[in-house]
Structures are given as structure tokens and as C-alpha cells.
Symmetry: C2
Subunit: 294 residues, 2 copies
């Protein structure tokens, strides 16, 4: 296997500044990037949304890939058009196809330093196991069942992942996470360089992954208005077990709504700002032990 | 002195959900509010911005008061029109003038539970001193020199204050701060009730206030693009002393920019998301000891 081109994308959501400014840094200071046997292509994915300081202009760009395109001319959503452009450049049939995509995101949830993968194939698990050794605080979220393996920017290439860091408020550049994300990018690039030189370390180990099960919404009234908030005891408790009887929401009139399903889950994206409109209060995941082999 | 009407406003910035949903709670559950000798009027100040999940539609509503109105008809900014409406209702010459305004805000900065006042008159200082006894973690920020004493919603009434809580990401409802803000509102209402009954406690004490000195911007290039981020050591350090030689910014190419002015200041609103476009990286304040007397 040979990696010829790596696509480093940020600002896929225009108000996630940490990734967007990392792209700008890579573009502005090429002398700070080591030389690799592959080409690094950078992409500020949604420049209009970035300029406007919003997640997207017409629709979520990271849900706009792989579905065919519906609109035409003036009727087409900006992000649909932009997804076409990006696909024509970096997709498998594109002008300069990316063999690996790294897409940079941030979240208002307490996800720390998360790698989002969509498949648990040997190549991806080996990479992620390597990254976990170099950065022990990393968490691995397998979003394969969430739809992102079909409609996200990273789904354009055979291999890739998203880096999701938080908690970071929308519209805020967070230096600590900027530096951590940057270090993680270089570790990924180092690993891909090892791949090209046939020097991949043989890792036989257990790895913990959190697999998407489903998303749950806030309690709402018939007009769709939220009736309760994330319970204070659950706020910022991403990746921690939520067991039957644990508090989930606190209603405005002071009632506690407990988690009542039969099995323990591990919630992620708890109170993510961008997900209110999507009807998502958090995503439930299962915690899995995966055997990584070479 | 008699308080006849208190205006409780929230959602003055549409993406500061904690205050907006407190207004909705007060409107939806009037049975949860004790009876007072004054009337409590509630206001979701910027309903269009709240519905759109943004700070404002055309311009910052909390900078739109007290300046005369420039536009007409279709040309008028939505917030200018809205400011007119609010003034005509609750201003000193309005239909139901407010004697006291409480305006609810949140910030992405680590301001904890902050009371923003614009004058240090005896009435305001006595109130704030009382609130500090009940809620010892409170900080008091005097923004009188910042312009807010002229153009903010709270400037409509002779007395009033803003409650500013954080860190909270824009677009996020934070239960812990929701509950703390609510408790603080009730303490203010309790105090105003004491005023009406002539039962104001006589407080002779020292109070710490942080007085606005000036705002400083991020380092930018000639195109206005940010060149550096808040230094990780300064992030979330609101209300802590910043002394000559302390790190202020970290540039994208790795250089530390230190604070080089001669005297120690106390920065607030460090890395507030809404202030990037205003050219404000933080506000410098002076820490003052004020003698409160009755």
C-alpha cells in the first residue's frame, strides 16, 4: 500500500475555528512541515461559512457527500455545490484523489481528543492503536453506524478519520486544543510515512472503541420546544457510563428525568450546540474491546 | 424609593440560551414565582435572533439603545426597530417603565457568576454588597466606561444590572449556570422587596469591583486576519492578575507575545466568541476596593 496524497481539511464547519486556523497555519508556514514521501493537500472546506462565522450557509457540509446532487443552478445549496467541487478534486475519481483524509473538528461537548473512525478494518485499527500509544489520552469513536461513513467529507477517501476536540465553544480559537490537534496530525503523518516505507510497527493489543448506537433528543413539547436541559450531573461526562436510573435531563419546572433503558451506555456529544437543531441531545455508544492484529 | 416594575430580560443575544430559557421558564411557570410588591415583566429581547440561533440578525441589540435611530422603513435594522419597541414599552418615558432591569447574558469566557453594573451609586453598591454576602462567589464588573451605560438594554432604566455567566458555549443551555442565575435573580428580587418595605439591611463593608479600562484586539495582519491566539496560560484566567512579562498571545508560528504595559491589569471576557468581530480579545480592568456605606 502506497499513500500518494493526504488531504488535511478544516473549517468543514465554519465556526469550528481551531481546525480552520490549523489549515491556515499549514498553508502559511509550509517551512514548518517536515518532508514526507506523500503530498499534503490542505483544504479550508467551507470558506463562506468560515467567513460568516457560522457552521454552514445552507446545509451541513459534512452531511452533503455521497448522496447524488439534487439542485441545479440557483436552487442548489451552497454546500451541495461545494461538496461537488471537493469530490471532483479529492474523491476517488477526482483530479487529485486523496488516499487518506484527516478532517478537523471541534465540539462543545467534553470529548477531549477524539479520533472518529467509520470502519474497524485492520489498517485503521493499526493506525489508531499506534496513535493511542503516542497520545494515551485519545478516545476512539466508531461512528460507522451514524451515517457519517456515507455523507461526510472523510468518506470521500478509502481511509481517513476526523479529529474531534472539545469542549470548545463555537467561534472560539482554543490554543491548547490547537496544539494537541497539531501534534496528533503530525503523528498521523509520521505513521503514514512509515506505511510508505514498509516500516509499520506490528501492534498486537487491545483497543477500546466506542461504537455509535443511536442518538436521543431533548424532551420537547408539541411545538418542538425544548422542555428540559442536560442534567448537571451528566454535563461534560462524555465517555462515562450512563446506567439505568442515572439522571439524564432536568426539566424547567425542576423534575429529574432518568435514563431508563435496560443497559449501560456511554454518551458522546452531550449538549453539542450544533445538534439542537438536529434533534440530538447526545449520542449513545457501546464500549468495545477490540483485538488489534497486524 | 419605590420599585413598581422590574423587567427581567433574556435572549438579548439570541444564542445565549441560558438566559432565554430562564425567561421562558418565568413565563411558563408563573406559579413558581413568589409574590412581590412590584410587578415582574419578562422579555425575550431578541426573538428573531433566538429563533435563528444567532447573536443578532442585523446588529448587536445590546449596542442599539440610546443613540437615536438612523434608519427608516425597510432600511432600518431589525435590532434598531426592536430597541425602539423595547424603549417605548420599558424606557423611562415608556408605557410601563421599568424601575429596575435585570438582563441575562452568558459568555464563552470564564467569568463565573458576574454582576455587571455601570455606576457605583449607593443604591447599586448596597444591592451588590448584599448579593455578594448571599452568593460569595460573585464577581462585580463595572462596565461604566465601556459604552454600555449608554447603549445597552439595561441602560433604559435608572437602576439595573446584567448577569453574565460562563464559560458557556453559544447555542448551549447549561443547567448549572441556569440554576445559579435563577437563584441570583431571586436574591435580587428579594432585595428589591426589602427596598419596598424599607427593610434594606445596612451594610458597611469593603467590596471588590473590576472597572473597565480598555479592550485589546488580537494581533492581526493587514487584511485583518488573526495572527495569534490567546496564550494557553491565559485562557480561562479571567479576573486573575496579568502582569508585565506574562504571556498574552501565542502566534501561529509559535512565538509568545507577552503583556508589556507597565501596570498589572485584570482581564475579563478573555476569548469571548462574540468579540472576535468587534476586535476584542479581552477587556482590561482595574481591581478596586470600594467602601460601601448606607
Amino acid at each position: 500500500m502506497k499513500i500518494n496524497r493526504v488531504l488535511l481539511a478544516g473549517g468543514t464547519h465554519g465556526n469550528e475555528l481551531t481546525g480552520a486556523f490549523l489549515i491556515k497555519k499549514f498553508e502559511r508556514f509550509p517551512q514548518l512541515i517536515p518532508r514526507y514521501s506523500f503530498k499534503i493537500q490542505t483544504l479550508l472546506s467551507n470558506p463562506k461559512a468560515f467567513a460568516a462565522g457560522v457552521r454552514y450557509i445552507d446545509q451541513d457540509l459534512n452531511r452533503s457527500f455521497g448522496q447524488g446532487f439534487s439542485g441545479e443552478g440557483d436552487l442548489i445549496a451552497y454546500e451541495e455545490l461545494r461538496a461537488q467541487e471537493i469530490q471532483q478534486l479529492f474523491g476517488t475519481q477526482g483530479k487529485t484523489p486523496a488516499d487518506f483524509i484527516i478532517d478537523l473538528h471541534s465540539t462543545t461537548a467534553n470529548m477531549g481528543l477524539t479520533l472518529i473512525i467509520d470502519t474497524e478494518d485492520t489498517f485503521t485499527l493499526q493506525l489508531v492503536a499506534y496513535l493511542s500509544l503516542v497520545h494515551p489520552s485519545i478516545k476512539v469513536y466508531d461512528s460507522g453506524n451514524s451515517g457519517r461513513s456515507q455523507d461526510s467529507l472523510r468518506s470521500l477517501s478509502r481511509f481517513g478519520l476526523a479529529i474531534e476536540v472539545g469542549p470548545i465553544a463555537q467561534g472560539v480559537l482554543a490554543a491548547e486544543f490547537f496544539l494537541q490537534t497539531e501534534a496528533l496530525i503530525f503523528s498521523i503523518l509520521d505513521y503514514l510515512e512509515k506505511v510508505n516505507h514498509g516500516e509499520v510497527p506490528s501492534l498486537e493489543q487491545q483497543l477500546t472503541t466506542y461504537r455509535y448506537v443511536k442518538a436521543i433528543d431533548y424532551p420537547r413539547n408539541t411545538s418542538g420546544e425544548i422542555q428540559a436541559m442536560i442534567h448537571p450531573q451528566l454535563q461534560f461526562k462524555d465517555y462515562q457510563p450512563l446506567s439505568p436510573g442515572n439522571p439524564l435531563f432536568l426539566s424547567f419546572d425542576g423534575n429529574i428525568i432518568n435514563y431508563e433503558e435496560p443497559s449501560t451506555v456511554y454518551p458522546l456529544f452531550i449538549n453539542e450546540a450544533a445538534y439542537y437543531e438536529k434533534g440530538i441531545a447526545m449520542c449513545f455508544t457501546d464500549k468495545q474491546q477490540v483485538q488489534v492484529s497486524s
